[in-house]
């Protein structure tokens, strides 16, 4: 148990380190944006702020103080969850993000469910089957993994919204408006995850403990579901950094394509308007999510793989049914 606590402690420390680095990076971006930082914060060269606004920004960000004081107060603000004020929306960045977060979380969760269900189902059904079945699955995975979500979304719109007219093309209200964006976001990710999962599953299905389970007379599906899947899930968990990033990045595109509300749309309009506090706020938030997910993953490992909970003495392969 001591070992587990120490592991968690280290992970927390590493996560805090990454967040500190991210906050530092956002400070550097503000400092090194060409020209006056106050001007950059209110919208770059093309913005024409009144002297009062410039004065307010200078005060708020302490731009008249030495850099180390500015840096410390920047870290302090981030630590308190204060990400500055949007100069386009005239409201705190955290509030602007908070208003949009619900729609994005909804989309990301729906897409995660679709991607995981599809990739697990296809991998379970096709791993170590006939050659043509595996070939077809791997071809399909390559195809969807190589398809950018903005094109996939256009194809889905062409067929389901404008061809068959059965699903709405835009909006972010209700379940029906969620279906197409969720699939556009999920399918490319499902392609990558499915590929990894199938390879892992094929490897596991050759392990001696699978043979022993089969000789006990268990049905093929039971062997796959109860014994093989658990082991094959590990690479999926390892890759969560990838697919959380893909979900967040993909949400930016999907929300724009389907004219949905959400953090992604907020981010794009902030980039267009050079609203630096909002852009940095969203980016810091995504770094925070990444750190959190990785922390959860490390804890999940402890649950999935009992060997990690023990003293490193356990060398041989753990036979099924260990926990």
């Amino acid at each position: 148990m001591n070992r587990v606590l120490r592991l968690i402690g280290w992970r927390l420390l590493a996560g805090a380190g990454v967040l500190w680095g991210a906050a530092t990076l956002s400070f550097l971006v503000i400092q090194f944006t060409p020209g006056d930082p106050a001007q950059a914060i209110v919208g770059g060269e093309n913005a024409a702020p009144t002297p009062e606004v410039i004065a307010q920004v200078t005060r708020e960000y302490g731009l008249d103080r030495p850099w180390y004081e500015q840096y410390l107060s920047h870290l302090g603000r981030v630590l308190h969850g204060d990400l500055g004020t949007s100069y386009r929306l005239h409201e705190p960045v955290t509030q602007a993000i908070g208003e949009q977060a619900g729609a994005t979380v909804e989309l990301a969760l729906a897409a995660a469910v679709v991607a995981l269900t599809l990739s697990v189902a296809v991998a379970l059904a096709t791993a170590r089957r006939r050659r043509w079945v595996r070939g077809a699955a791997s071809g399909a995975e390559l195809l969807v993994a190589s398809t950018p979500s903005f094109w996939l979304g256009i194809l889905l719109l062409t067929v389901f919204s404008f061809g068959l007219r059965i699903l709405p093309a835009t909006g972010s209200h209700g379940f029906r408006s969620l279906i197409l964006p969720a699939f556009a976001l999920a399918l490319p990710i499902a392609g990558v995850l499915g590929h990894v999962l199938r390879e892992a599953l094929e490897e596991v299905l050759e392990e001696p403990f699978i043979v022993s389970a089969r000789t006990r007379g268990l049905a093929d599906l039971t062997v796959r579901l109860r014994h093989a899947l658990r082991h094959a899930l590990t690479p999926l968990v390892t890759m969560s950094g990838y697919w959380v990033g893909a979900l967040l990045g993909g949400a930016v595109i999907t929300e724009t394509l389907f004219t949905r509300q959400g953090i992604g749309r907020l981010l794009i309009s902030a980039v267009d308007a050079k609203d630096l506090p909002v852009v940095l706020g969203v980016v810091l938030l995504s770094a925070g999510i990444y750190v959190l997910v990785n922390l959860v993953v490390d804890l999940l490992y402890l649950v999935i793989d009992p060997r990690l909970r023990e003293v490193p003495a356990a060398a041989g392969r753990v036979v099924e049914g260990a926990a």
Binding site: V18, T147, P148, I268, V279
Partner: protein
């Protein structure tokens, strides 16, 4: 592996054609990608316009052909930046003392915490949009990944017997790095980069799709799709073909990349 061969050949052929189209688009189409024809807007595919026309009556096929250069440039250019930047940092981390290594690795930890597209968006907010800025933005966003891989390679080569032998023979430090460590670290990374070109190309066209990469009059696949989005109900061909070009390119690059990786793994083991 025998079963894969025809697919790999096909993918390589597609890549050759794409590179040819990027270098000499005139060989593939006689039409001007910028020629506006207001009498023939949003025409479906026909003998005259193989893939139809867009909202300004421009030929979609020739716009796709002429867009190849920008799209390939984005993919290959961004990965070149990531390779050079990540390569330098990775070798430095692999050969440097604990402080240098720790610093570079922690920096790359921070970099990895940002999704590629979001990091690129920060660069564009500060530096502005356009093809070149998009290229640099995606390249920079990819540096941490390559730095990690190159460092791991460098570390394993540094401890290998042939580097020890080179040192024992009295070769100078920089010479060992240039002649023995670098070339051996580069090969596996180049294979990784082949597959990375596909992802970078998608990211580049995504930026154009969002209106932050290549600006509209110039033909580029992502920005074509961005406009096509407004005409989905009237012109399916406009939204279908430019995207098909992206997917076809990514598949070809990935297939060739995977084949290279399999081949190199077969050789080393």
């Amino acid at each position: 592996m025998k079963g894969i061969r025809p697919g790999v050949w096909l993918a390589a052929l597609v890549l050759v054609l794409l590179v040819a189209a990027a270098l000499a688009p005139h060989l593939f189409t006689g039409q001007d990608p910028l020629a506006v024809d207001s009498a023939r807007t949003l025409q479906p595919p026909s003998a005259e316009h193989l893939l139809g026309t867009d909202e300004n009556g421009r030929d979609v096929y020739s716009r796709i052909v002429f867009g190849t250069r920008t799209s390939l440039l984005l993919g290959f250019g961004a990965i070149a930046i990531a390779l050079v930047g990540g390569g330098l940092l990775g070798v430095l981390a692999g050969l440097g003392n604990r402080f240098v290594e720790g610093l570079i690795m922690r920096l790359s930890d921070v970099g990895l915490a940002f999704p590629e597209l979001l990091l690129a968006l920060v660069v564009i907010t500060v530096a502005g949009g356009g093809t070149w800025n998009a290229l640099v933005a995606i390249g920079v966003a990819n540096i941490p990944n390559y730095a990690r891989v190159v460092r791991a390679q460098t570390l394993s080569i540094r401890r290998s017997t042939y580097v020890e032998a080179a040192h024992a023979l009295g070769l100078s430090g920089p010479r060992v790095v240039l002649r023995h460590v670098l070339p051996n670290a580069v090969k596996p990374v180049l294979i990784l980069a082949t597959i990375g070109v596909g992802t970078a190309l998608v990211a580049g066209s995504a930026l154009s799709f969002l209106g932050l990469g290549t600006p509209p009059p110039e033909p580029e696949w992502g920005s074509m799709l961005s406009t096509a989005r407004n005409f989905i109900s009237r012109a399916w061909w406009y939204g279908v073909f430019p995207g098909a070009a992206i997917t076809l390119t990514v598949i070809s690059v990935t297939v060739v990349g995977r084949w290279l990786r399999l081949r190199s793994e077969g050789r080393t083991s």
